[in-house]
Symmetry: C2
Subunit: 353 residues, 2 copies
Amino acid sequence: MTRLGVWFLGVGTGVLLAASGASADELRDQAKDLFPPVPAKVAHVRGQPVTSGQIDLGRMLFFDPRLSASHVISCNTCHNVGTGGADNVPTSIGHAWQQGPRNSPTVLNSVFNVAQFWDGRAADLREQAKGPVQAGVEMANTPDRVVATLKSMPAYEAAFEKAFPDAPDAVTFDNMALAIEAFETTLVTPNSRYDQFVQGDDHALNQEERRGLQVFIDSGCSGCHYSSNFGGQDYFPFGVVEKPGAEILPEKDKGRFSVTQTATDEYVFRAAPLRNVELTAPYFHSGQVWDLKQAVGVMATAQLGTEMPEGDIDAIVAFLKTLTGERPEIDYPVLPVSTEATPKPDFGSLPTK
Amino acid sequence: MTRLGVWFLGVGTGVLLAASGASADELRDQAKDLFPPVPAKVAHVRGQPVTSGQIDLGRMLFFDPRLSASHVISCNTCHNVGTGGADNVPTSIGHAWQQGPRNSPTVLNSVFNVAQFWDGRAADLREQAKGPVQAGVEMANTPDRVVATLKSMPAYEAAFEKAFPDAPDAVTFDNMALAIEAFETTLVTPNSRYDQFVQGDDHALNQEERRGLQVFIDSGCSGCHYSSNFGGQDYFPFGVVEKPGAEILPEKDKGRFSVTQTATDEYVFRAAPLRNVELTAPYFHSGQVWDLKQAVGVMATAQLGTEMPEGDIDAIVAFLKTLTGERPEIDYPVLPVSTEATPKPDFGSLPTK
């Protein structure tokens, strides 16, 4: 009930603002409060400094396919930093070509989300990183095998010791996750045109884009999609006013209900963060909508209960495209060489020939 | 017959040198002729300059999974520049989790090979690049679909026009291959300890490693594994003296015979280039030997007809590990965003649940 309360408050705020017809400065002031700019750097996580040793190790781990049982799939396979931090397929392909249940969320700016996964079942990126490594339809590995893999390579041992100098046993599954999280804190995309606008550059957004931002606020989108990430902060029913079709909202996936076992959490999902949204089609947890305009239309109907005028949808889409930020420069890592002690790849079931 | 002749000549040369007991300078002179150092840069291919526009485009293409039908597999999946330019599995996993027939050769220094693939069926990297994109067990795409994919993205069109400014139609399958080749010319690994040694640094190799180099020459390894790439220059029967077991040399894969349909090419393969060999286990076209020491022993028996003393094998292995060069620094590319016109991913057969 609290969450629904927040949601309606959000819509209410939007409606109040709708009447205002704000100037560029007024719009900027509204927007800055609702959606602060993305910082260029995240220096701390949970109050702890993120060190360069952890980031370097995390970068290696993020790109290392040997975290998977098959030695074929890395974190980057589904959260490809070259294509918006996601894999841009409906739902991801994993171990033995199994198709996962939900669309891969972008890793870009994910550090700003209140929790991870579409249902928020991981409190933070540290916890998130442990999921896909073990999921049978994703990397299909086990913590013991991952640790054995990492301990088999002296260069990894050294990198863990550098990243976690005070740990009596540096190479652990927990530290693997911490290092991946540390790397992921660097995957932020500052200085989008939207950010330039709220930081004072009137010319960063054209008139249509500013109108889109205003409509985004006034029509109630910002009731769920707020914060510097334009979402990712709380959970809301998908189809609160009108349920979308089963293709978009498959009946079997009850969202956050599977985490909380609370009836009011049926078909509840974390509001998708919208930074770089133009890079991350297809949309929604089911990944069945490829067109951003269609996605905005679905949201208007399902969440706001309105048939939004096409001109407003176009303006919102134009505005959303200003949320594409500067993507981080990433050196592709040189990975430690496997040794005799490294567990061999296990492909699982191969297709019959 | 010519090829066999060359091979026996190679062995003969090795035997002649065996008696010499060369000093560091003599060893260097021998080695420099047989295995020149890897250059730090390749500026031309087939007499044409390689441009930065082509390299930048090629880097995007090399890492772009949308060259595959599924949008999951990129060139880098099987030729991972972070793990020795190969995938370090017996034989590669491709489209719909099909397992390919041969071990993925390293892309590092591949520009120095006389031809590409284990059977040399592609004359150069340009031709090679077209193979896996179309192979049903690899990327399972078609030239038309690849071109449609690339043409659907304005940023790719611009990158092709920059790379091929004189082409009336820049975005072609041929130019895709040329750009990938251009990028691959940058994947060279100069300045290995071996290279430092032949360039004058006596201390770059220790005594055991120098002895290994001498044994490598004297025992006849260099009869096939010559040139700056320590191989990759010509074709030789695998098991010329004694056929290895069917696990290592599967009966069904007749090697270069499938290219030339010439009886003497049965079980003939391109001599594997040995640069960075410590990074590219498992070994041989079948990828069934994980241990470099075992691989050297197999070669001695199969190709030289000798049970090489363990001390000599150890020395050769020590020497081979000095062939690991400096790997190129690679910025992971930011890839163009798909558009409505981009062909959608096609996963092919999914496993039954």
